[in-house]
Symmetry: C2
């Protein structure tokens, strides 16, 4: 991902959020780190340039960004939250061997699912979003 500081500022103010160095750093970290970082990944990253951002602030900002829909939380089986800066509809590949999570975009599949659920209603439930959780193994080499 490649998002300039200016774009980040713009995103923040579009959401009616005050523009602070902490928020910029954290949102930028999520974009740079890309692969679904944990709060700790983000802290480690931003401390290199902003050594005095407090841990609590990072968690607070992450919450704010989630509430403002600038980022998303990812459901995992571990006691660690992970964050996603990519907002376009996509699914996730979860490694059954490691903590690796990769994006998987597939318009054709999304169409297929949309079609399917256009007919097949789920009684008593209003679908807002469908995400595939694809579990498996990544083959050799990164």
């Amino acid at each position: 991902m490649n998002v300039s500081i200016d774009i980040i500022k713009e995103k923040l103010s579009e959401c009616g959020l005050k523009i602070t160095p902490q928020r910029i750093a954290i949102l930028e970290a999520i974009y740079v780190l890309n692969n679904h970082p944990t709060a700790d990944n983000i802290i480690t990253y931003i401390r290199k340039t902003h050594p005095n951002i407090a841990t609590g602030t990072v968690y607070k900002v992450l919450d704010t960004l989630v509430d403002s829909k600038l980022i998303k939380k990812i459901k995992t089986e571990k006691d660690i939250m992970r964050y996603d800066g990519i907002l376009d509809q996509h699914h996730h590949l979860f490694s059954s061997e490691s903590d690796r999570i990769e994006d998987y975009s597939d318009d054709k599949l999304d169409k297929l699912l949309e079609e399917y659920f256009k007919r097949k209603k789920i009684p008593g439930f209003k679908v807002e979003e469908i995400k595939l959780q694809i579990n498996g193994k990544f083959l050799k080499s990164k």
Copy 2:
């Protein structure tokens, strides 16, 4: 769900696990509580009849049951693990307003996905399991 103690014992020994009152109580609780209980839900439930099962034991047993594939963990956006005693392939409906999680089984959909991924290979990844995470709102009542 309606599983007798005898069936539970059978399941345990099939997995080569010692049959203990704690394991029976916990597995039964998961079946009775049904809707994807937390460790705490399970503790509250079993304490009614087994007031002295230790908290640590419950977590230990849950781990064991997951390892033995008698139950499954459910990925959520919260810092609380949830467990599922239903092993047949099924998906989950996640409430965007509450912590409610309901099962959703759909053979036709599973067929469709299987078909789809028979052709469409994901490069560098070996799919083991595909689950839909269906987010939305439950409509009134229940």
